[in-house]
Amino acid sequence: MAVRQNQANLTTAQKSAFTDAVLELKRSGRYDEFVVTHNAFIMSDVDNGERVGHRSPSFLPWHRRFLLEFEQALQSVDPQVMLPYWDWTQDRTASASLWGADFLGGDGRAADAQVTTGPFAFNSGRWTVNVRVDSRSFLRRALGGGGRPLPTRAEVDSVLAMPVYDMAPWNSRSNGFRNHLEGWRGVNLHNRVHVWVGGQMGTGVSPNDPVFWLHHCFIDKLWADWQRLHPTSPYLPAAGTPDVVDLRETMKPWNDITPADLIDHTSRYTYA
């Protein structure tokens, strides 16, 4: 069975296999297609109009499908690779092994936030930021530079305790689990982690940093954890909601999969 592991438990060989597969997708051009898709949705998902990838109930199933597509691309390079997840409630400093030179590389330097260690440093020659919103083509980070610490386990648990998946108006103002997990309201989980990493992770082209996938893999795991805690709480809304993906409506850009198809992840992968 395919198992997604905590990144902290990966062997050196597993880390190398993951980063090698990511670098190969980058070399072939496939990686940047994912960045383009994410940015197009993040710029067009709006609170008072059509919204699919973000600030809406389908934030979770949309990213579940997006991660599956990326994981399948990695496996086309190396069938053994699975997405790992980053539990930022545990590995919450810039000295975590996640940021080692043998994995994702470290913090950006003070002068220009440029990442200078690891396989994704610009000077490695293998990681040029092509899909960008400004002129800089090097990966940047400013770990913790936003001044607010990563969410704590207690904060995560307070959000997991929310029994209702999502609520009208089904956007960034909503009460309920989805919007608190996404972070537009309340203690702020997902959004805050993007800000904590900084650099491209704080922008619309956030998948330029490979940590995007490990962050969203943990968000996906938290959705799975929430489902186990609230087995009778359904995805909402059920039907008939303008501009919002209902349970059995297909999602762009794939147009062949619905939130209902993605509720149960266990046929595809499990979490260790």
């Binding site: 051009g29 959004n191 619309g204």
Partner: protein, 132 residues
């Protein structure tokens, strides 16, 4: 072009991008060109009545913002355009009336001026890539 049509065109392009034969982004082509939206106008904006224009030098860069009416530089449902040294910064207003920009997309700001100032800090002097 209506909002629905414009968005449909955009999403159509995205679908194409995600499909097998995507060729839209050659190396070095900024996202702005890859994600270019047909048409220049937008509708269905979040109401932005009362959000004032501004024009100032902040940390050595000229930042400007103004409500947009009719055809022009507004995107993403903002109905309001922000510029850094003449380059347009994509901004969006949230339902609670706070603002975000494409440079700080997961962090909200009370006003478009605050979003523009945050973008100046984040840019470290770099130029914005035009997104349309």
């Amino acid at each position: 072009m209506s909002e629905l049509t414009r968005r449909s065109v955009l999403r159509g392009a995205v679908t194409g991008a995600a499909a097998v034969t995507f060729t839209g982004v050659a190396l070095g082509v900024p996202v702005a060109l890859a994600a270019r939206r047909p048409g220049g106008d937008t509708a269905g904006s979040v109401p932005h009545t009362g959000v004032e224009a501004f024009d100032e030098i902040y940390r050595g860069r000229r930042i400007q913002g103004a409500p947009q009416t009719g055809a022009g530089h507004h995107r993403g449902g903002a109905g309001y355009a922000v510029f850094v040294d003449g380059g347009e910064l994509h901004v969006m207003q949230n339902a609670d009336s706070s603002w975000i920009s494409v440079v700080n997309h997961y962090e909200t700001f009370a006003t478009p001026r605050a979003a523009a100032r945050a973008a100046v800090l984040e840019l470290h002097g770099a130029a914005l890539v035009p997104f349309a």
